[in-house]
Structures are given as C-alpha cells and as structure tokens.
Symmetry: none
Subunit: 207 residues, 4 copies
Amino acid sequence: MTQDRAVRTREAILAAAVEEFSSEGYAGARIDAIAQRSRANKQRIYAYFGNKESLFRAVQADALAKLIACEEAVLERAEAEPQRLTAHLRDGYITFHRDHPEFRRILAWANLAGIGPEGGSAEHRTAVLKRLKKVFQRAQTCGGAPAGTEFSPWLVAVTAIIYFIFSNQRTASVNLGMSLADPKVHDELVRSAIDLLGPPQPRDRQA
Amino acid sequence: MTQDRAVRTREAILAAAVEEFSSEGYAGARIDAIAQRSRANKQRIYAYFGNKESLFRAVQADALAKLIACEEAVLERAEAEPQRLTAHLRDGYITFHRDHPEFRRILAWANLAGIGPEGGSAEHRTAVLKRLKKVFQRAQTCGGAPAGTEFSPWLVAVTAIIYFIFSNQRTASVNLGMSLADPKVHDELVRSAIDLLGPPQPRDRQA
Amino acid sequence: MTQDRAVRTREAILAAAVEEFSSEGYAGARIDAIAQRSRANKQRIYAYFGNKESLFRAVQADALAKLIACEEAVLERAEAEPQRLTAHLRDGYITFHRDHPEFRRILAWANLAGIGPEGGSAEHRTAVLKRLKKVFQRAQTCGGAPAGTEFSPWLVAVTAIIYFIFSNQRTASVNLGMSLADPKVHDELVRSAIDLLGPPQPRDRQA
Amino acid sequence: MTQDRAVRTREAILAAAVEEFSSEGYAGARIDAIAQRSRANKQRIYAYFGNKESLFRAVQADALAKLIACEEAVLERAEAEPQRLTAHLRDGYITFHRDHPEFRRILAWANLAGIGPEGGSAEHRTAVLKRLKKVFQRAQTCGGAPAGTEFSPWLVAVTAIIYFIFSNQRTASVNLGMSLADPKVHDELVRSAIDLLGPPQPRDRQA
DNA sequence: TATGAATGAGCATTCATTCAT
DNA sequence: AATGAATGAATGCTCATTCAT
C-alpha cells in the first residue's frame, strides 16, 4: 500500500536533513535548504516529520542507530578477542568518526540545544552498553582493559578523548602546535592519549 | 576623559551577549534579545561591535581571557607544587567550568559553527601553554604527572575528560545510568577518569 | 444501478463540509479538515464538487433546502390556522435555528464573503415566499398578523429579530446584561420583541 | 519622545486593517495586504499590534468607538427631544451604517469567528446603554417610544431590523423582489419595519 | 471509485541591519 | 552617545489543488 516513491522521498529528506543539521546546527538549519538538497517538496518534510524539531530528533535517532551498529560490530570483535578490547573500541570509534563525520556534530548540536533524540533510541543504546560492560570485565583479566578500574570512568575517558580530538581539531591544532588535519598525526595523538589509560598494549602499537 | 557611560554600555552589551550566545548558539542568538538583556539600544551594539559575527568573536575572546586567567592561577599553584600538577589542573578546570558554565558552551558553539575568536586571543593562549609544558616536565620527575609520556596527549586527555563530562551531562546520565546532575557523583567520575591517566595520587583524594 | 458507495461518500463529504464551513467560514475552512471529518479522500471532494467555492455553494444550497422544508411545514400549519400565523412562523424559526445552529452561520459567512448559493436554490425559495404572502393577507383579517401593514416589512422584521438575537448572543449578553445562553431568557426576549410588531396574541403566550 | 512618524504609521496600519478585515474577514484578511494598503512595513504591524488576532481586536475596538460616538450624538438629540427617540435612533443608525459600511461587517465577522474586541471597549458601551435606557423611559411618556414595553426587546428589535436589512441586502433583494440597492427603497423598508414596533409617529414620516 | 504522494504559491511572523532624530 | 522607527529578505509552516496508481 505504501508507495515506493514515498519511501525514497522520506529517505532523501532524512539524508538531506542529516547534512544540513550537521553543518548548520538546529537553529542554523533551514527547512528550505533541506527541501532543496533532497529535491523534495517542503510540504513533504512536514507530512513525514511533523516539524523542524521532530525532524531533528529523527536525524538524531538515525545517527544513534548508526553508532549502535558500529558498537555492535566492535562488540563482536571484542567478544572474540577480549585481550584487545581497548584497541578494538578505539579503532572502531576512530573509523566510525572518520566515516560519519556528521555524527559527532549532530550530537554536539543536540546536546547544546537541549533537544534529545526520538523516544526509544536511548533505550536501545543502554542494552549495547550492558553488553560492553561484560566484555570489559572479561578484558580486565587478560590485559584488554586496565585492571583495577571501574567501567564507567574507563568508557568515559576513551569516548571523551576520541570525541574531543575530533571535535576540536582546529582549536587543538593552534594550541598544541600540531597539524591535526594530517590523519597520521591525528591517529598518533588519539592512540597515545588512550594509551595513557592503561598498561601499554605493545602488540597493537605496530598494527 | 573616558566616557564612563559608554564603557558601561559596552560592558553590559558584552555580558548580555555572553549569556545569549551561550544559551542559544550563534545562529539561535537574537540581537534583539541581547539589546533587551543589556537594556541597551540595538544601534549601540552595531556601533560598538560591528555586526553579529564580530560580536560573537568578541564574546569568544572574552571567554578565552577568563580561561587564560584561570590557567595562570593554576600555573602559579603548580609551579609552587609541581608534584600536584595534575590535581591542580583538574581542580582548576572543574572549578572554572562550574563557575563559568557559559564558557564551554560558547566554545563548543563556536567550534561547530566554525567561527573563531578575535585575532590575538589565540596567541596569548599559546604563551600560557608553553609555560604549562615546562611545569609538566618538572612534574614528571616528582610524581605530579605520569612519567614516560608526552605533554600533548596528556593535556588533551585531561582536557577531554573534563570537557566531555561537563558537555554531555544529559546524554551521559542516560547512558551510564548515573545522575551526573549531582555534583558529588559528577566529581567522582571526573576524578576517577583522570586518575586513569597516571599513578593514583592518594594525598589529594581526601581534599 | 446507483453506486451506493459513491452516494454515501458524497453525503459524508457534504455533511463534513457543512460543519467545517459553519464553524470556520469560507476562508477559514480547510479542505483537509473536511476530508478528515468525512473520512473521505481529498480527491473525492474535487471529483464531486469541483473546488472549494463550489463546495461552499453546495453547502449553502443544502442549508437553504432545509430552511425551505421548515418554512413549508410552517406554511401548512399557518394555512390551517391563519389566526396564529405570527406565532407559527416565530416558533417554526426558533425551533429551526435551535435544531440547525449551523444554518444561520453558513448564511452569515456567505453573505459577508459575497458567495451565493448554487443557482436554482434562490428561485425555489421565492415560490415559498409567494405562498407565505397569501397566508399573511388572510391572517391580517383574523388577527394572525398586524392589519394595516405590508408583507415585506413585517417579514423582514420577524426574520431580523430572530436572526439577530441568535447571531449576537455573546455581544447581546454583554450589552443587555442578560444571559442569552439560558434558552428561557432567550425565548422570552424573542417573543417580547416580536410581540412589539403587532397586537398581543394572548392565546399562545402560555403555549 | 514618541515620534510623529510613528503615530502616522500606526494610524495608517489601523485604517488599512479596518478595510482589509472588513472586506475579507479575520481568516481571509492578509497581513501582506494590510502592509501594502498602509504602505507600511510588515514588521511595523507586529511592532505596534503584536499579531493578527490582536490587530483584529484593535480594529474592533476602533469600530466600537465610532459606534459609541454615534450613539452619544443620538443621545444628545434624544435627550433634547425625547418624543422623537425612535426616529432619532433609527436615523442615527441608518446614517452611521451608511457612513461606516465596514462597521457591521467587522462586528459580524468577529461574532462568527468568536474573537472579541480589546478589553475595556465593551464596558464603555454599557455606560452608553444605561443612559439610553433612561431616555427610553422618558420617551415612553411622550410618544417617543411604545408605552407598555420593556427596554431590551425594543432596543433589540430596532437594532435587529436595521442590521438585518443592511446585512442581507443581496439576499433580501432576491427574496422580496425589491432592489434594496436603491437607498430610497431601502430607507422606506427600514422605516416601515420599525414603525411596526410602535404607534405611527406621523410627524417624522415627512422628515 | 478510490487513495497516498506530490506540488507551488502563499501566510503569519521574525531577523539582522540601517535611518532619522 | 543614544534612541525609536523603519526595512527587506528570510523562516517555519500551510493551503488548495493535481498526479499516479
């Protein structure tokens, strides 16, 4: 019954909205721009998403879904190789942020504007985190995560470092006197910062 | 003969702009709102600051100046007690963010919007960082900072953790299942995350 | 072989349109709302009625048809009892307006907007009025209508009073200091105003 | 302090709004049209009147003020010549409606849309009505108003007849077979309808 | 007959910025 | 220096109407 064309239109709108909100933020994004980018009629946006705020929430939900997918992939690798948990997580996040540069921007705008994602998407995330916690505990026994520390601070620290370095690329370049635009320098900074969190894990330094 | 009234007007505008840009972001901020908050005439804003973007840059410069002042105070304490560098830096930042909640918001908005501070304010900052680097090296010899690591990753990690936890209070609360609105829980998380970076520094846990 | 479904759809649309136009007026009415109220597809509205204006005209024709039916019923009673013409007319109108509150609203909106009913419905009405005129003349000879007056002013006066009191319920309540929302007060006002038009007709005061 | 130009702008807007709301109604009126008619900038409309609804209320208040002025003029004449109260009221209203054709339209639209005038304007009106009631009572003793009737029904009847005939000019023309567009015919109908309300007042038939 | 999808012009309202006093 | 008035280009959102199935 639902027409094919409608699905395509909806997806085009969502994709355009992701771009627009990511680059302009909630207040700065223009519905007109989203309509143009998606080559859809403005009215369709309202028909499918209600209003600007709901659209923004939908965009966030979409972004979170991608993050969860990434985390699930990481989990599978980490469950197979718990001794490399930190490395897997770090590399998974780095790849993710590089492939989806809009992700952290959207979440940052959302946090600042105080507009959360669609209901339900947060819950799904907590399930993933529970699973991650279990692997973390296993990893502590085999060198994949620092022993003698709790899960929350560790996760926060890992996440924080990666987010921060990606987010403040420009600012950091100025302050630290390094060109973080170069992916190699960037990677090296992330790695050495995360290495601070636990015992050096020599086997993946050369990876 | 300084025109006293003019100075006061300018300051009132700047203060109002800080509030407005901090809570609404660049795109979301309204010149009208700034005029009302400061009880100044809109035209004065244009006379003193040129346009919205320049005003935003001035606001950033103001925020950075406060940060630098804070860092200088930290430096003095750390230069006297290098063995407690990490603790001084951590506590200085925590206090700073708690006293100036608008600071990280303004910088975050600015980073996302790609609008930097007024020329000159960045340079001043690098001077401070050089000084900090020196203390860091001294601190490594006496337990105030983890030995065997470089300055940049360490600073990034410390800064990242503090920023991140302050910035994602809402998101983090949901994900980690802890209420970060409670300052005690919040502090404890920051401290234990930063402790991951180096050897526990038992003497200031009870401070 | 009448397409039953089609007829029902058409009627549902018309009924919904009566409600919508009555409460919102021509400019304020929304085709979408009519579609929703009638649970019909918007395209059906255009298939059956052409466009918004034609639909509004059809709604008016429908309303006028109901009025004419009411007047014909009144006429039958009045032709049997001409000595009570005024009372029959008055009571017929009062009942009609109470049962069809949308009627006067639709006609009022139409008059203001300058959009008349479908062609043909006006002619039918004049036939009824001719018949009424005849009864009026008979009634004048037996106390059912004021002697020595012409038909037009009398009809206008009766109609005017009833319309006006129904239409300006809110305004009148404020101005006259009486609560016309109470049907008893309302009725009494209509009756005494109409009684002004001719000799008191004591026999139906207690009716 | 308030600039002259501002007053003129405000008045131009109000005048344009009266025209627009009168001819199009609340829903049908366009802010753009009001801006164009008044040659004012749209923003000024919002600066002075807040929003469309408030502007409509202001327009009503303006209309009511004119009505009250008219009624006060009638009152003065009627207080001097109570024996001609009905005639003065009738002629005052006829003149008023002819001079301010927008008045009854605005009030009719407002009644239908359920949007009342600005607070305060109704109260002022009741004062006038109290004064009118007093004259009515005096008039009853000298033939200026029908003896043996109450004030409210009488006022309602007079008002109703005049409103109705002005309002339904087009409809009535069709139904009654008279061209009410001709002011003479129109006047005659009003007069004879109102004469129904009380004893013929021969002296002003020739006026 | 019936329906969901699509459209373009329009609508109330707001914004950053400038003018005139 | 300071202010109220003014402006034109948006900005989010909606409407009557048509297309495609």
